[in-house]
Symmetry: C3
């Protein structure tokens, strides 16, 4: 009927900020992972985000998570903005903002088929 692959698969649902999405796609492909990206909004992260569906063999889950962690982990950046500053800050003082972050659900898979 249809082909079935023997290796046990998992699906990683990863929700990441839009600003990290393109780079995550690139890094996953380089590491030989196949990921599908869906536009999404709200919830886990303040900024716009994307949801990745990554199909991965059981023993590669940690490697895939490592790629996500390296690319998307929460970190602070200094930005210089000329608007929306707190009153105490000078016009050109850089302010610290938190960016990135990833929320990952690893789901069991009963069967995996490709046609």
């Amino acid at each position: 009927m249809y082909s079935m692959e023997e290796n046990k698969m998992k699906v990683i649902l990863a929700i990441v900020q839009d600003k990290d999405s393109q780079q995550l796609q690139t890094h996953l492909v380089k590491a030989d992972f196949r990921a599908t990206r869906l536009p999404s909004t709200g919830g886990f992260l303040k900024a716009g985000n994307s949801t990745f569906i990554i199909g991965v063999e059981d023993d590669k889950v940690d490697d895939a998570l490592e790629v996500i962690k390296k690319t998307c982990h929460t970190r602070t950046q200094f930005v210089t903005s000329t608007f929306a500053l707190p009153e105490a800050a000078g016009i050109n003082d850089p302010i610290e903002v938190q960016v990135g972050g990833a929320t990952c659900f690893i789901l069991p898979v009963d069967k995996f088929v490709r046609f």
Copy 2:
């Protein structure tokens, strides 16, 4: 390598009508649930819809479903329309339409990590 949270998690995939989506997002946040919303079409519901991915601890699944039920359940509304009326109805007679509805799949989660 990466942080792991001990509480057993579930993922709720909830497909709801667009007209209920914004309010569902608001009610979930108020109830301290984190949800990601993806645009979707067709299938379970006639009108445009949205798919929510809600990560929730095992013992909070029923609470989250209760929020979805209250916000999105199927109900009838009376609308006054000046076009597309059945022949027998007068121009300004309100007609009854069915709106809302939610289809929810609760998925097991092997592992949940945030970076």
Copy 3:
């Protein structure tokens, strides 16, 4: 609290090329399956793609996969193009391209509810 259906459900996540998506939706509806379609990009397939979420009873999974296989399987097409031809080909020689393909994950479902 909420209705629960007794039959064991599965969720099929199917990623298919955009060019097959409309027909897949039609064929699934004809075969009495309910599917929700989400726009997606990259990863498994070179061209633009769509991700389907199909909720299906355990004993209907193979039937649903058969619909996906028939509609979306990888196949070659001959196209006549007047640009981007390999040097050796004449202007109007048809060239063979591979289209279609579907990647399907069948996920276990703990609970299924509709409101």
